[in-house]
């Protein structure tokens, strides 16, 4: 009966904890399903801790049994079990949570783009984000021909994901080019990009980012099968199809220049619907006539912007007149080239490591929460073992004053106190 009870108590400890970690990490496994073992690092960590605990559980159990009848030795053995139940749950994390351990590692791994506080509760949302980074990367590169649809359909590319060597090579090579000929050219000549990334994209900073002369490394090449250019004017007839037909590149590996918009990765839309509406212009009749020359002029403006005298790389200015609106769109070229903005691209480049880091958070959370149950189960098992194997402990008794002092088998402390008291009593 006691054995069954002890087994049950063991099961509600670490085995249940490992199951809880696994259950709470399902979103992470789902999102990172093509990243082999990386999303399972947290579970592996919890499993290793559970194995260590199990070994301690067994060894202390055997020790207690071996020393049956020796109360002090059995007490020592069960105390080890209880202390280790704390050390292996909350104890470890109290240390790992110190600012210079996990929080610093996380900040270094994400180059300061993700903080510990942002992740320790919101890990599922982050996993979804990292999962979608890979999916979107694949979709963008299927669209521009970097991932051939003759080889696999888009669905198949999404399914094989990071396991595909082609996807890995494309991610690595193109990120290195974006990093070398994009990010580093911005950060090597001043603080401007860092300011822009911190909501300080002032006009002087924008001017610097657009006009500063930057040096690129001609030996680092970008892989691009075809150029995709956004349509200059997007109408209702275009729906979500906002790119022109791809134009195959003669040289698929080439040096690409990047703009600040590429680094940020998101288009800037200036909504002029209200202003245009206020002018009372007959847009319905004018636009069909104007759209032809306007498209051509916008195309010329876009080419002009790409001239080294101006931005030196493509920024696409276009008009979005869908749903009766009138928006000027400033689109980066990154999406058409199959890249996210710099931060997301940097994350994608280390997505396997980041999935590993994210997977640690559910383990951390449940080792903290379920740690109390583990400690409780350890204490209960300890009590059972003490009762089962401890025998009778030495007892103190009231004695007559003149009775001779017997200190046989006393602990050091008890002997010291008893002798001192007896000595004092004699002196009275």
């Amino acid at each position: 009966m006691k054995k069954v009870l002890k087994t049950l108590l063991y099961i509600i400890g670490f085995p249940a904890l490992v199951a809880l970690v696994a259950y709470n990490s399902l979103t992470i496994y789902e999102q990172g399903d093509t990243y082999s073992f990386w999303p399972y690092v947290g579970l592996i960590l919890a499993g290793v801790i559970a194995i260590v605990y199990t070994i301690i559980f067994i060894v202390t159990g055997k020790n207690s049994k071996k020393n049956k009848g020796n109360y002090n030795k059995v007490k020592k053995s069960v105390a080890t079990l209880v202390i280790m139940s704390f050390v292996l749950t909350a104890g470890i994390w109290l240390v790992v949570d110190l600012p210079f351990v996990l929080p610093d590692i996380l900040e270094t791994a994400t180059q300061g783009t993700r903080k510990f506080e942002q992740l320790h509760e919101d890990y599922n949302a982050q996993a979804v984000l990292h999962g979608s980074l890979l999916d979107d990367f694949i979709k963008m590169n299927v669209r521009n021909g970097n991932l051939s649809t003759e080889e696999r359909t888009e669905e198949e590319w999404l399914e094989i994901g990071y396991q595909s060597p082609e996807v890995q090579k494309l991610m690595k090579q193109n990120f290195v080019e974006m990093d070398t000929n994009g990010y580093k050219t911005f950060t090597s000549n001043g603080p401007w990009l860092n300011m822009a990334n911190d909501n300080r994209l002032t006009i002087p900073v924008l001017v610097h980012l657009l006009l500063n002369e930057r040096e690129v490394n001609e030996e680092v090449l970008y892989y691009l099968q075809a150029d995709l250019v956004p349509k200059e004017i997007v109408t209702d007839a275009d729906g979500d199809n906002t790119f022109k037909a791809p134009v195959a590149n003669e040289e698929v590996e080439t040096v690409i220049h990047w703009t600040i918009l590429d680094m940020q990765g998101t288009p800037m839309n200036i909504d002029l619907s209200g202003v245009i509406g206020g002018l009372g212009l007959p847009l319905d009749t004018l636009l069909p006539t104007l759209s032809g020359p306007l498209s051509e002029i916008l195309g010329t403006v876009n080419e002009t912007l790409a001239d080294p005298a101006l931005a030196g790389a493509e920024i696409y200015i276009g008009l979005d007149i869908r749903d009766g609106g009138f928006q000027i769109m400033l689109s980066p070229a990154a999406e058409a080239r199959g890249m996210h903005g710099y931060q997301n691209s940097a994350w994608l480049d280390s997505n396997n490591l980041l999935f590993a880091v994210i997977s640690i958070f559910p383990a951390r959370k449940w080792l903290y929460i379920w740690g109390a149950v583990v400690i409780f189960s350890a204490v209960a098992v300890a009590a059972l073992r003490l009762k089962e194997y401890g025998g009778k402990k030495e007892k103190l008794e009231e004695i007559e004053e003149d009775e001779p002092l017997d200190t046989t088998g006393m602990s050091k402390y008890e002997r010291k106190v008893t002798t001192a008291i007896a000595e004092r009593n004699r002196m009275r």
């Binding site: 909501n199 002032t202 006009l211 002009t304 005298a309 004695i399 002092l405 106190v417 004092r424």
Partner: protein
């Protein structure tokens, strides 16, 4: 036997509980009470924890006394307890007595100093009797005021240390000065990516507004005086500025102790014909190169003519007589021609209004003036012109003006003027400055005074407040702990150990 053991256990618990209710609780309570001081923007590293340090030292003194009397009164437990209680009484009453009888005079002296020397009024301060109870409220209100200030000027959240967003544009080193809480370039100015700390934002505004107000008090305009002084430096061939630009020998400078930062040709290397600084800002040549590309590309685009034909046909656009796009839109297009065309189209007045010149047309100087604010690049390795100003007040103002407007505009934290804070494409006009010049100067003086109070007086007030409430209970609890110790010993005296 079990009865005795149970008694011992109960007595032990009581012994620990009563000890914990004494000094440990006292230190904890001081820690809680002093939290607003710890969190104050104005507290120094030491001041933030001074209250806790004082409380901990009080506890340590009593512990030392306990050890001492344990050694002295080995056999007389009662005498030991009485002596320790006496020491504890003195120690806990000390902060109350010190605050009430000695600190009051110092507090009033400090208030007098700010009233007499800085022009503050007595009503800007609480009386000592009120301050001694309202110090946490005052500290919290100050933090709220400073939070609002940080938000208005868009400083870094928490703003204490400022921020450096990266290396200088020219690759020179940005050096942190921890005492100033600022990053400096080799020319002694803030580094390219330095976002003001609270300390430096205040210093810039003090320098800007105090000099401006001092000139105004004499009926003078400091901006005009500065413009004249700079013009003199620019136009006088033998001015230090021109000597600097020409790389004259250091001994020929009027400015005492002048030395070049790197070499006598440092200015030429930065701003000369192929100067490295030129790749960081818009020059006449770069503007003309841009105009040339625009002219060449648009000139080759037939759709421009088609579009204008449609627009002029509908009457929406009216082209001025004599405007020939074929001759204008070529690779030879210059900024001067563009400006002429803009004025000919009648758009000059509108643009001049937007720039703020109020003229009927715009000029290239207007355009360059506008661009200077946006694309100005002060090389971190050369001195600015105002480094050579001889008048100290004007020089201090010129630096503050540069930091508050140009540098602040760049890092998204304009510090002076009617519109301040972050100005970007989404919000070109920034935040309306809610502070007046004199109001801000007075606010800074109050913050200076409160900095002294928070670091030198309020920690003692926090200790006093808790000591006042707890001194009797601390002594009682300490004595109780001694009593329980004695009782435990009495119980042990009834026990011995036998093997069963």
């Amino acid at each position: 036997m079990d009865k005795v053991r149970r008694k011992i256990n109960v007595l032990r618990v009581l012994q620990v509980v009563f000890y914990a209710l004494g000094f440990p609780l006292f230190v904890h309570m001081v820690m809680l009470t002093a939290k607003p001081i710890q969190e104050s923007y104005l507290a120094s590293d030491l001041g933030a924890y001074m209250a806790i340090i004082i409380a901990a030292v009080m506890w340590v003194v009593v512990i030392l006394a306990q050890l001492l009397f344990r050694a002295i009164c080995r056999k007389n437990r009662m005498a030991r307890a009485v002596w320790v209680a006496l020491i504890a009484t003195v120690i806990t009453i000390a902060p109350v007595a010190y605050s009430d009888f000695m600190l009051k005079g110092e507090y009033e002296a400090l208030v007098d100093k700010y009233v007499e020397e800085e022009g503050l009024k007595e009503t800007d301060f609480y009386t000592y009797e009120k301050a001694i109870t309202k110090y946490t409220e005052i500290t919290e209100e100050l933090n709220d005021d400073i939070d609002e200030y940080i938000e208005v000027f868009n400083l870094a959240p928490g703003a204490l240390e400022g921020k450096n967003y990266g290396g200088n544009g020219d690759g020179s080193k940005a050096t942190l000065n921890e005492e100033d809480q600022a990053y400096y370039s080799p020319n002694g100015m803030f580094s390219d990516g330095y976002l003001f700390s609270l300390k430096q934002a205040i210093a810039v505004q003090k320098a800007y507004y105090s000099n401006k107000l001092a000139y105004e008090a004499e009926g003078k305009d400091i901006d005009m005086a500065l413009a004249e002084a700079l013009l003199e430096l620019e136009t006088n061939p033998s001015s230090d500025w021109n000597k600097y630009k020409n790389g004259a020998s250091e001994s020929s400078f009027k400015k005492e102790g002048f030395t070049y930062i790197t070499s006598s040709d440092e200015y030429e290397l930065a701003y000369g014909e192929d100067g490295y600084a030129k790749k960081f800002y818009v020059t006449d040549d770069r503007l003309d190169a841009i105009a040339s590309v625009i002219g060449g590309n648009l000139g080759a685009c037939d759709a421009v003519g088609d579009l204008l034909n449609i627009l002029t046909g509908t009457g929406l656009v009216k082209l001025p007589d004599g405007l020939n796009l074929d001759t204008l839109l070529t690779e030879d297009l210059t900024v001067d021609q563009l400006i002429e065309t803009i004025n000919a189209l009648g758009l000059g007045k509108t643009l001049a209004g937007l720039i703020g010149t109020g003229a009927d047309s715009i000029t290239k100087d207007d355009l360059m003036g506008l661009l200077e604010g946006y694309s100005n690049y002060q090389s971190p390795s050369t001195y600015p012109i105002f480094y050579f100003l001889e008048d100290d007040a004007l020089q201090e103002y010129a630096y503050a003006n540069y930091y508050g407007t140009i540098h602040g505009g760049k890092v998204g934290a304009v510090l002076v003027g009617e519109n301040v804070g972050l100005m970007n494409l989404d919000n070109m006009s920034g935040t309306k400055n809610p502070y007046t010049a004199s109001g801000l100067i007075k606010t800074f003086k109050i913050w200076d005074a409160q900095t002294e109070l928070i670091n030198e007086f309020y920690p003692m007030f926090a200790v006093r407040a808790i000591a006042l409430k707890m001194s009797a209970s601390i002594v009682f609890c300490l004595l109780a702990a001694y009593w329980f110790t004695a009782k435990i010993d009495d119980q042990y005296a009834k026990l011995a150990v036998v093997r069963k």
